[in-house]
Symmetry: C2
Subunit: 139 residues, 2 copies
Amino acid sequence: MEQPRDMASKLSEQGYRLTPQRLMILSAIDNSDNHISADEIYAQIVAKYPNVNISTVYRTLELLKRLGLVTETDLGEGRVRYHPAVKGHHHHLLCQGCGAIIDLDEPLLASLKNTLLREYNFLPDLRHLAILGRCLKCS
Amino acid sequence: MEQPRDMASKLSEQGYRLTPQRLMILSAIDNSDNHISADEIYAQIVAKYPNVNISTVYRTLELLKRLGLVTETDLGEGRVRYHPAVKGHHHHLLCQGCGAIIDLDEPLLASLKNTLLREYNFLPDLRHLAILGRCLKCS
DNA sequence: CTTGTATTTGCAACCAGTTTCAATAAAAAT
DNA sequence: ATTTTTATTGAAACTGGTTGCAAATACAAG
């Protein structure tokens, strides 16, 4: 379960530099149990190294996303949250009425995925999806 | 097919005021064939009435969304586009590799919708969804 | 046709995230 | 060890969108 090293080695395998900033960002992501936001990562780092810039955090997250090392979820709170890809994929149903978040099993979307692949030659990225709508009480 | 009047009357039925700003926004949305962005609506209006403010456009779009009169799609271009709800629902597959946009049939998501309703008591809002991923060439 | 009032607007400040560009630092070449 | 190349960073400006608040106005009641 040595995630930060794992992500770090994947970065360097692909020719990206292992800068102190990147390593700090990786361990912040990995040490957070739940989903972490860019702000939270930044706040954690800036406490020790005040000259690190928020745009570096965003750029690194962008890179990690592109390499498939983290996934992103928009839970409708006006900011996006990040999660290490290796810790598993999952989905959320987000009620627009009461704000409830219902976790969703991964395989539920498998059939949609297959259909899109078969009928549209399209490989959807359904890791960590948030579907908006309304729960029974609110609809 | 008298859309703006239709949306306008729904607004006033619900007790919302029919201000000139709102009427201009409604007709801008309705006159655009394709999906229109907040900027585009604003640019159209400000050309005739320079003192109208962009935040009014955003506030009105928010309201129309809440009342289900327009739907919103994020095609990954860094801004969101709007579409009158009565003009029909449709979905897009958006390739992250080449940027291709594949239109998707409405009923395809019906089975997902039913499953979520049956197994999770959740009524998803799947009008005008954009699914990110990769087309065959790019994957 | 005025008056009262709650809704709506414009403005300015703000927020999350992105971009440009010159300065810096890691790794490669000498 | 020094230089060169190239990736990365910090700073500042910018983008799309939101929010708080005082001023304005649509509409209902008199």
